[in-house]
């Protein structure tokens, strides 16, 4: 039985089988209000049905998940996006997050974990998979000593706080938010706010590594 306040979810993926799989895994916890298998159809249907959360694939013909987010974000800022992908390329993942997705999970995620992620995004939180946490730690790696910091860098936006780094490290190690809260003796709410802060930095930072690092991984 679907409860009244269950989030309304829209699926965008070019693989029919995968959509069917996700649909059955989400089960009764959410209301799936529609699905699409390509960018143009997705943009049209999402604008029409205005779901709470769009689960979308990073790689799709016609511009991928990024194109969908960019088209919807301007006119319907309340729609939230969660990227779901097998794609391992950091530049794609970071790209989709910077376009406006509130999280990234890999397709190997288990059913209950996926539901949890959707609920989290629906309530405005960010969802980081271990892989995304690793990418972010890499992108915000401390500058090698001796290199000049561009003056355009905003120290507030372009650096992670030690606590944020700690939280990301634990996510990368496979800890759940609950386990992180226990390990750091803070509340789950605080963990969530750290992750949201990291997401904000990731989306707004002009740190040049973000655009550059994908091609040349950091060698220290």
């Amino acid at each position: 039985m679907t409860t009244a306040d269950a989030p309304r979810v829209f699926l965008v993926d070019d693989h029919h089988l995968f959509r069917a799989g996700v649909r059955s895994e989400l089960g009764e916890a959410v209301r799936v209000v529609g699905e699409a298998d390509e960018v143009a159809a997705a943009i049209e249907l999402i604008s029409e049905r205005l779901p709470d959360v769009v689960l979308l694939d990073v790689h799709m013909p016609g511009g991928g998940g990024k194109a969908v987010i960019e088209a919807i974000k301007a006119s319907h800022p309340t729609v939230r996006f969660l990227a779901l992908s097998v794609s391992d390329a950091p530049e794609d993942v970071i790209g989709v997050i910077r376009a406006g997705a509130r999280g990234y999970v890999t397709k190997t995620i288990s059913g209950p974990e996926l539901i949890d992620a959707v609920l989290r995004v629906a309530s405005g939180d960010a969802v980081f998979s271990p892989r995304l946490a690793g990418f972010v730690l890499d992108a915000f790696a401390s500058m090698p000593p001796g290199s000049e910091l561009p003056s355009s860098l905003d120290p507030e936006l372009d650096n992670l706080s030690p606590r944020e780094r700690e939280v990301l490290r634990l996510i990368a190690r496979g800890y759940t938010y609950k386990e992180i809260a226990r390990e750091l003796t803070i509340s789950v709410k605080t963990v969530e706010s750290h992750v949201s802060a990291v997401l904000r930095k990731l989306q707004l930072s002009t740190r040049h590594q973000l655009t550059r690092w994908a091609t040349e991984r950091r060698l220290i």
Partner: protein, 449 residues
């Protein structure tokens, strides 16, 4: 010679909320003497005397490890300071007294305070000092006067060091002194040459003392005297130094051989013994058994005849840390049918230490795949300028660290022993019912990379 700050820390924590993970240094003081010897060694921790890299007390090695300098340079500086004035020698002996040995929580001075007899002996050296000063004045030998005090203070310090050093250090000192005493007890055929050497050395030494102490206005005389002194010392003590150096060399070789043997045992465990275990488990599937046996045979052959160690990283063109992690991910997923989620932050080229880290990490991953019962394993690897850390985590059955039998080679040898031999650490946290996390860390030596 590169001084390696050894980090030995092999604990098994069965409670994840163990308070001393976070506040570990404070406990060292309270630890009973003779208990666990090795404690956590922070990179920026206190100055300690090195156990591995030492000629006398390991002070130069300790300074080198702390400051990241070459130990040889530190030694040269110390020797120069010692030659310039006796104060350098005194400072060295004092450092010996007040610096704890690596892995030890107590300084020699702390024990010497309660050593009444030792203090008495040290005080008894005061009349000797007066005697030396008197003789120096009588002979007009200014060097005796200026060196008398520092040398005697040093001698007093050494008495306390010898009496209060830890057992292994005292054994080492005894060994060195015994070698010196055995100068007179050499085989008969070399007896004559020994007497000749002793006589010759003594004559040269005495000549040196006389020339120096009667140095007139000529600058040449002190120089000649010093040369004579050095020549006399070399003739007298040369063979002893040679023997000491040989012993040191032999000891190092023996240690290297032992480490190689342990490394080989770990490799055999990882490959052959693991395969045999898998064969036993799939005894009812002849095809699977044949496949495993064939793969193992190929691996063993390439090890024995082509020199490619099994499970070694770098054998198939794997040259970087992230590529090595991907290889673990691939191999464990393929062999054990478990999902492996690997995340790597930063990347570095592989060296021997990092290959050992990867091998230990792979063993931890295989263990998780085989025993935890979980459906997935998380690997997180982070390369930092000072060290590389690797975390292998599963949410499976977990185990009680204290109950794992000593014969379980996997954890003891393939993980802990391997990390330790290469200067790294392994910490295993496991809670029955909640899962296991293995934390490995390996210090980096960018200067050698």
């Amino acid at each position: 010679m590169v001084a390696v700050a050894q980090r030995r820390d092999h604990r098994c924590i069965s409670d994840r909320f163990d308070p001393w993970r976070h506040n570990f240094d404070g406990t060292a003081q309270g630890r009973a003497r003779g208990g666990s010897r090795y404690r956590h060694h922070h990179e920026h921790g206190r100055l300690q005397r090195s156990r591995e890299d030492r000629i006398i007390a390991g002070i130069a090695g300790g300074i080198a490890a702390r400051r990241g300098r070459d130990a040889t340079i530190v030694r040269i500086v110390l020797v120069l300071l010692g030659l310039l004035s006796g104060v350098g020698v005194v400072a060295y002996v004092l450092a010996w007294l007040v610096l704890p040995a690596e892995g030890s929580s107590e300084t020699i001075a702390a024990r010497a305070i309660s050593d009444r007899q030792g203090i008495t002996i040290a005080i008894a050296l005061v009349p000797a000092l007066v005697l030396v000063l008197l003789v120096g004045a009588a002979l007009h030998a200014s060097f005796l006067s200026s060196w008398g005090l520092p040398l005697l203070v040093s001698a007093a310090g050494l008495v306390l060091v010898y009496r209060n050093a830890e057992d292994d250090e005292r054994a080492w000192l005894t060994e060195s002194v015994k070698a010196l005493l055995q100068l007179g007890a050499e085989p008969r055929q070399s007896r004559r040459s020994f007497i000749a050497r002793l006589g010759g050395g003594a004559v040269l030494f005495a000549l040196g003392v006389i020339v120096i102490s009667h140095a007139g206005h000529s600058w040449l005389r002190p120089l000649v005297g010093t040369l004579l002194l050095i020549a006399g010392t070399v003739v007298l003590l040369g063979p002893w130094w040679l023997k000491l150096a040989m012993d040191l060399l032999n000891e190092r070789q023996a240690r290297i051989r032992a480490e190689e043997r342990a490394d080989m045992a770990a490799r055999v465990h990882d490959s052959v013994l693991q395969t045999l275990a898998m064969i036993q488990r799939s005894a009812d599937q002849p095809q699977e058994v044949a496949k495993l046996a064939r793969a193992q045979e190929r691996e063993l052959r390439s090890w024995l005849f082509e020199g490619r160690p099994p499970g070694s990283f770098g054998a198939e063109g794997v040259a970087t840390l992230s590529a090595g992690v991907e290889q673990i991910e691939r191999e464990v997923e393929a062999t054990h049918g478990i999902a492996v989620d690997a995340v790597t932050v930063g990347d570095v080229p592989l060296d021997d230490e990092l290959r050992a880290l990867l091998a230990a990490g792979k063993e931890a991953t295989v263990n998780a795949a085989k025993w935890s019962g979980a459906t997935s394993v998380s690997i997180y690897v982070e390369a930092e300028p000072k060290q590389v850390s690797m975390f292998v985590r599963d949410r499976g059955a977990g185990f009680d660290c204290n109950r794992v039998g000593g014969d379980r080679k996997g954890i003891a040898e393939s993980i802990r022993g391997r990390m330790q031999r290469h200067g790294g650490t392994a910490v295993i946290r496991s809670v029955p019912g909640e899962g296991t996390e293995v934390e490995l860390s390996m210090p980096r030596h960018p200067s050698r990379a």
